[in-house]
């Protein structure tokens, strides 16, 4: 094994930079991709101005809700300033929460709760108006229910008085508990509530993107299998102290060891870069994922004689695995129709935290058959 390592180092000395590049690419590309995509999302938010003239609990809740809205970039301003910015088209539109907002809702008067200012450039006025309206609707709806319920005891002679506040609070609590709108994009679906609040996760699946690029780079790193089994070199390597298969397998193990280290470094740097918004509690799934895709690349490369065709085929296969694994774009239609299809992708197993995937078992079996099958030589 020492001599194999030495001969591999001779190769790596020639390709040190490209080796390093392929090893860090999954991490680098993931960071660049997600940062760019998130910035782009940030840039495409609609700038709106918000003027708050009511300091009631309900008004504060509405402000919070608008602030959290993914589509809006909200500036909290005074009316005068907001209107100047609107005139200069720095803001798409301005919404003023009028004084007495809560009072009006409580007393079930639904006009003049909010004043909207728009310019001739307000392209996004309608969606903004609708989003704001839906928040008011919610508060006004709870309020209306409360009024209705408060009137019930009188109508049916029940001896219990509910206050308006009690009813609204209860209905809000129920809504919160039943809420289906929170979806987690984190690995493992095990993200804790605190983290969700402290740092809203990116809509992109960090580990899914990392895994897809890792598949691609693994294929590219295993191109030595194609290059070193060209007929004349295979003949030469077959006559050495170790068999040709053993030569390939031992080199494959060396690559695997280096890739393990690269994976640890990659995930460490990813965790550092994305801080709280992602988690890493899948070491064994990652080790299994690494072995699976290395075996896949190794066995796949054995079928090729020309690097060019190998690269093209590897690229296509990676895209396919990324798609059916649901890491790049979620294609629910396909996976609902054919649920088993996602099991063909090592990325799915990895994202689900699976240590022993069906693909792993299949590839291992193929590998064993290949290794122990006799070639047409004298055994």
């Amino acid at each position: 094994m020492k001599s194999i390592l030495l001969t591999r180092l001779l190769h790596w000395r020639q390709q040190a930079w490209s080796l390093l590049f392929w090893l860090v690419l999954p991490m680098l590309a993931t960071c660049i991709f997600i940062t760019t995509a998130d910035n782009w999302q940030q840039d495409t938010k609609i700038p709106i101005g918000l003027v708050v003239e009511d300091d009631s609990q309900m008004a504060i809740q509405l402000v919070e809700a608008i602030n959290e809205h993914a589509l809006f970039a909200v500036s909290n301003l005074e009316t005068e300033q907001a209107l100047i910015q609107l005139e200069q088209h720095q803001l798409d539109s301005v919404f003023v929460i009028e004084e007495g907002y809560q009072e009006h809702i409580k007393s079930n008067r639904r006009n003049q709760l909010i004043t909207a200012y728009v310019s001739d450039m307000s392209l996004a006025y309608t969606p903004v108006k609708e989003a704001v309206a839906s928040h008011i609707q919610r508060d006004a709806g709870s309020s209306k229910a409360a009024h209705t319920i408060m009137q019930l005891p009188g109508q049916y002679g029940v001896e219990r008085d509910w206050s308006w506040d009690e009813i609204v609070t209860t209905s809000d609590q129920i809504r919160e508990r039943e809420s289906l709108l929170h979806s987690s994009f984190s690995f493992y679906n095990q993200q804790t509530k605190q983290e969700k609040e402290s740092a809203p996760p990116s809509v992109w699946n960090v580990w899914g993107i990392w895994a897809s690029i890792a598949v691609l780079t693994t294929f590219f790193l295993f191109d030595w299998v194609v290059k070193e089994q060209r007929p004349s070199m295979k003949q030469r390597l077959s006559l050495l102290k170790i068999s040709f298969k053993s030569y390939l397998v031992r080199n494959g193990l060396i690559y695997l060891a280096v890739l393990f280290v690269a994976d640890l470094v990659n995930s460490g740097l990813l965790l550092f870069y994305f801080q709280q918004s992602i988690q890493f509690d899948h070491l064994f799934a990652m080790i299994s994922f690494r072995i699976t895709i290395s075996m896949l690349a190794f066995l796949f490369a054995l079928r090729f004689r020309t690097p060019f065709f190998y690269y093209v085929a590897a690229l296509s296969l990676t895209i396919l695995l990324g798609l059916i694994g649901g890491a790049l774009v979620p294609i629910d239609g396909l996976t609902i129709m054919l649920p088993w299809i996602s099991y063909l992708s090592p990325i799915t197993a990895f994202l689900n935290g699976q240590v022993l995937s069906s693909l792993f078992v299949v590839l291992l079996s193929i590998f064993c058959v290949w290794y122990w099958r006799k070639e047409r030589t004298y055994a």
Partner: protein, 223 residues
């Protein structure tokens, strides 16, 4: 002594070698001639244990090809027809690479001497910048690292200049006559065959080579 009896090889339905028998003694240099596609390379790869014949028996001294493959490989030096070296490595790195995986250990100095013996002196030069002749010499040198007794050379001198060709020839003659190695090699260069070989085997029924070599007084056997 290498002994080949009733050797038959076919690719699919295509018969390449039909009932070939011959033998070669230690210290002999044997030429193998025949038109393109006659089966010269096929015969050499079988003798190098790299592919299996359909029929026939081959023995080298007391080793049988059917059962003693590993032991045979230690004694065989095979030079593939297509140059098999790492183009991006220097001559030194190429020699060290194959020495590491070879049957016997050699020091760097010994490896360098091996190259110098056949007048390959660009030790630090990248293989890809070597001339065709120097590449052929490196291709040959790599196959000799483990000091094999039975040398199977597939067109070791094709496409190279006269000087390198003579240098390789002189070196091979030394190996056979001074160290008693057995050498079987193929070539299309009749002058070279005549000056180097003790006798010639011709594969295929083409009378061309037979006539040509007979004229020059060369011993020729048709396989």
């Amino acid at each position: 002594m290498l002994k080949v009896e009733s050797l038959t090889k076919q690719y699919g339905s295509k018969q390449v070698l039909a009932d070939v028998s011959f033998q070669v003694n230690p210290g002999d240099i044997v030429g193998l001639v025949g038109e393109n596609g006659a089966g010269k390379s096929t015969l050499l790869t079988i003798l190098a244990t790299l592919i299996q014949p359909e029929q026939g028996m081959i023995t080298y001294h007391d080793l049988a090809y059917k059962t003693d493959q590993r032991k045979l490989r230690q004694k065989i030096g095979y030079v593939p027809q297509n140059i098999a070296i790492w183009e991006e490595f220097s001559v030194e790195e190429n020699m060290v690479f194959f020495e590491q995986l070879s049957w016997g250990k050699k020091s760097r100095e010994q490896l360098r001497q091996l190259c110098l013996d056949m007048k390959l002196d660009q030790w630090k030069e990248k293989a890809q910048s070597l001339s065709g002749g120097m590449k052929r010499k490196l291709n040959l040198a790599i196959s000799l690292i483990h000091e094999p007794e039975l040398l199977l050379l597939d067109e070791p001198t094709v496409g190279i200049d006269l000087k390198s060709r003579k240098e390789i020839g002189t070196y091979l003659q030394q190996l056979a006559k001074q160290q008693g190695k057995t050498i079987i090699y193929t070539s299309h260069d009749m002058e070279e065959i005549i000056s180097l070989c003790d006798y010639v085997y011709c594969i295929g029924n083409d009378p061309f080579y037979k006539e040509l070599l007979k004229e020059k007084g060369q011993h020729i056997h048709v396989l």
